[in-house]
């Protein structure tokens, strides 16, 4: 299995998210996460998926099937490029006064922020690439995670690419 990050630019018609996820389901692709949001152009949205595919051929199929959708303008597999990826997680951590300062000391190096607090629970926001978010979650897990929500990854290709990366041929 290969993990790939795929971005698509789509026309923001009603139902477009459904179309794209429906397509992935019909063709039996495994989505790890999906994010959608507006872009700088009115009426145009961008979706970022993290998917697991078996091999290069399946990947090519996925890209071509996405490209075939009438409302899809552009499809890119950016996994092999220099990219920036960010994800945001909100986590409610059990933090009775006894351990609170210990937890705060974990929060700091991750540049996470406390955004809400009650007697025994603090809510923390952590942003970064998915591995960093993962690492943070692992560290706070022993204290007890009451609730958590993650946005999934969203990505950009960097302006400067070091080496020309191999482009999959969309014929």
């Amino acid at each position: 299995m290969m993990k790939r990050i795929i971005t698509t630019t789509v026309i923001n018609q009603s139902g477009v998210l459904n179309r794209v996820t429906g397509l992935l389901m019909k063709r039996q692709f495994n989505i790890e996460s999906i994010t959608v949001g507006h872009t700088e152009q009115p009426g145009i949205s961008k979706m970022t998926f993290v998917v697991h595919v078996e091999d290069q051929r399946k990947l090519e199929q996925l890209l071509k099937q996405l490209q075939k959708q009438i409302d899809v303008l552009k499809v890119n597999d950016i996994s092999d490029k220099a990219i920036v990826t960010r994800e945001l997680a909100l986590i409610k951590i059990l933090s009775p006064p006894a351990v609170r300062s210990e937890i705060t000391s974990i929060i700091e190096p991750f540049r996470a922020t406390v955004i809400d607090m009650s007697k025994n629970v603090i809510t923390v926001q952590v942003t970064g690439d998915p591995e960093k978010v993962e690492a943070f979650i692992d560290l706070v897990k022993p204290y007890g995670i009451k609730e958590m929500t993650r946005t999934g990854a969203t990505s950009f290709v960097r302006e400067n690419q070091k080496t020309p990366s191999q482009q999959l041929s969309i014929l």
């Binding site: 789509v10 026309i11 009603s14 139902g15 459904n18 179309r19 429906g22 397509l23 019909k26 051929r57 090519e60 199929q61 071509k64 099937q65 490209q67 075939k68 959708q69 009438i70 409302d71 899809v72 303008l73 969309i170 014929l171």
Partner: protein
């Protein structure tokens, strides 16, 4: 209701609507007329009442099927033989869901359809209103694209886009869902721009890459054992003339997919017959042995390839397809070409592509063709289904438009009816839809009123859509229905015989209507034939008649379609070769 219409709008609508409110339904009819729609296949109901009212005032010929499934299969038959988009209208809810099988069928076989469904009023969509079904959601995976119209002012654009999408690139069905209030609303746009298309995400590639075409030419010249696999893409591109020139110019041997039959004359000396599960020995062995396989307009369907591990194991693969997603989907490709089949073939012809030294190969293939032809064992009495097909061929001279249902009769027709012409073969290949053949023949006959149209069906499948006999009687549509009656679900029975030790679970159908009386009940001519002599006489008369006729042709029950590649086997592992 009297709303002032400005001069520009009135002009765009033909000038005769001055001082009259122009409603969505009127715009709808006008848009269909602008698309040159010759006929509509449909069925009315609550949500499309405004549309049917507009149709009453401003008629386009409308074929009132007796079931929405009949309407859409007829539209498919029309589309297949005419090359134009078939147009279907149905009401919301059950009307729309009755179309689902036909939409999926058209999607699989790349048939251009524009399907209009009524929808409940916008205000109540999402409330489980009476006759509400989320047809846009339901058909999203089985349409090339679909729309729900939200604003009456978008209607002309959406209809034009729907026809554009359905009939360009790889054709397919497009559904347009129209809420009832949209049909009633007053069109307020000053300008009815009928040719507006706003589809930045849809630009099919039709012109082949020249460098790739050169590579194809080189590969053909180098190959010692080349083979062409011709699919329905050639028919959709209306390229069979160019294709035949290409074949004759190069001397390349050809095989067909099921849906590709008719791309080349069925008795052409370079034609090896159909390939695949019930393909000929020569065609399947040619695929196994070739060193270059040139696929033009076929999608390497599993019924064609058999077990992929054994498919064309020694061949370099060229795949020419208008849909890039088909290339590399099932079979890894060495030389991919995304193009319209006609443009690609023309480019090859222009290059003057030739073969060199393939004489031994073609002699070998012709030898196999001679030694292992399609065959059946003549019986003393009764009719073999294969004999019936040959008889139909004899009495139509290979010129008829032939539609089939799905099952044994379909495979025998594919094997034994040698088509003289392209676009004369109408069958449900991808979805394998029983109930398709008879209504599809009605649509085909309406598209080509001067041709002989024969619907060859099984007794099982015919009973799925036989209500359309009403149409034959009502409009005297001269379709010839031939039921190859084996009193069973023959193809199921064959599989049960071969793979389930003759446990005929629910596949024998001894109880059936008297089909001759059924025809008479619809005021149609009906005949039953049980011997070859009877059949010869009745077929001769019926196939020359200009009236609709139904023939209940009794055939031997226990008869199998051979050769056969069992599921999971490679093309070289055929049963019943000799």
């Amino acid at each position: 209701m009297s709303v002032q219409v400005n001069a520009k709008q009135a002009e765009a609508l033909g000038g005769d609507v001055e001082k009259q409110a122009v409603q969505g339904a009127d715009i709808f009819i006008q848009s269909l007329q602008n698309e040159g729609v010759e006929m509509i296949f449909g069925y009315p109901g609550g949500a499309v009442l405004p549309i049917y009212d507009a149709l009453y005032k401003n008629p386009i010929p409308h074929i009132l099927a007796r079931h929405e499934q009949g309407a859409i299969h007829a539209a498919e038959g029309y589309a297949r033989v005419s090359g134009k988009a078939g147009v279907v209208i149905a009401t919301s809810g059950p009307g729309a869901t009755n179309l689902v099988t036909g939409i999926a069928d058209a999607m699989m076989d790349s048939l251009p359809l524009v399907v209009f469904t009524g929808q409940v009023a916008s205000a109540v969509i999402g409330t489980d209103a009476f006759q509400e079904a989320d047809i846009v959601g339901i058909t999203q995976p089985i349409t090339k694209h679909n729309y729900q119209v939200k604003d009456v002012n978008d209607l002309p654009r959406i209809i034009h886009e729907a026809f554009h999408i359905a009939s360009t690139g790889r054709p397919g069905p497009v559904l347009v869902d129209i809420p009832k209030n949209v049909s009633n609303e007053i069109f307020t746009k000053a300008d009815v721009k009928q040719n507006e298309v706003n589809l930045p995400g849809y630009q099919p590639t039709t012109t082949p890459n020249f460098l790739q075409i050169q590579k194809v030419a080189q590969a053909i010249q180098k190959a010692e054992k080349p083979l062409v696999l011709a699919g329905a893409g050639i028919l959709h591109a209306k390229a069979s003339k160019e294709f035949t020139s290409f074949i004759e110019q190069t001397g390349l041997p050809v095989t067909n997919t099921l849906l590709g039959l008719g791309t080349i004359h069925g008795e052409h000396s370079q034609f090896l017959g159909m390939a695949g599960m019930h393909g000929t020995y020569a065609a399947n062995m040619a695929i196994c042995e070739c060193d270059l396989l040139i696929n033009i307009g076929a999608r390497f369907d599993d019924r064609l390839t058999g077990n992929l591990e054994h498919f064309a194991p020694n061949a370099q693969i060229i795949h020419i397809d208008i849909d890039p997603a088909e290339i590399g989907k099932n079979v890894p490709t060495d030389i991919p070409i995304v193009a319209d089949a006609k443009e690609a073939i023309q480019a090859l012809l222009k290059l003057g592509v030739v073969t060199e030294g393939i004489g031994d190969w073609t002699a070998h293939l012709n030898g196999m063709k001679q030694e292992f032809p399609l065959h059946y064992k003549n019986e003393e009495e009764g009719i073999l289904p294969q004999e019936a097909i040959e008889m139909i061929h004899k009495h139509t001279g290979g010129d008829a438009i032939v539609t089939t249902d799905v099952g044994q009769h379909q495979m025998w027709t594919a094997q034994y009816y040698k088509f003289n012409h392209p676009d004369h073969w109408v069958t449900s290949g991808g979805l394998g839809t029983m109930g398709f053949g008879f209504p599809a023949a009605i649509g085909a006959q309406l598209a080509k009123p001067n041709e002989t149209v024969v619907a060859i069906t099984g007794d099982g499948g015919f009973q799925m859509t036989l209500q359309e006999l009403s149409l034959l009687q009502e409009s005297q549509i001269p379709v010839k229905v031939v039921i190859l009656n084996n009193q069973c679900l023959g193809m199921v029975r064959q599989w049960q015989e071969t793979f389930y030790q003759e446990r005929y679970s629910q596949s024998l159908m001894p109880s059936q209507p008297d089909f001759v009386k059924l025809a008479q009940a619809y005021d149609l001519e009906g005949y039953k034939v049980s011997s070859l002599d009877e059949a010869d006489e009745v077929f001769k008369k019926a196939l020359q008649s200009n009236k609709p006729v139904l023939i209940d042709c009794r055939v031997k029950q226990i008869e199998n379609v051979y050769p056969m590649v069992a599921p999971g086997k490679g093309l070289h592992e055929m049963l019943g070769v000799k």
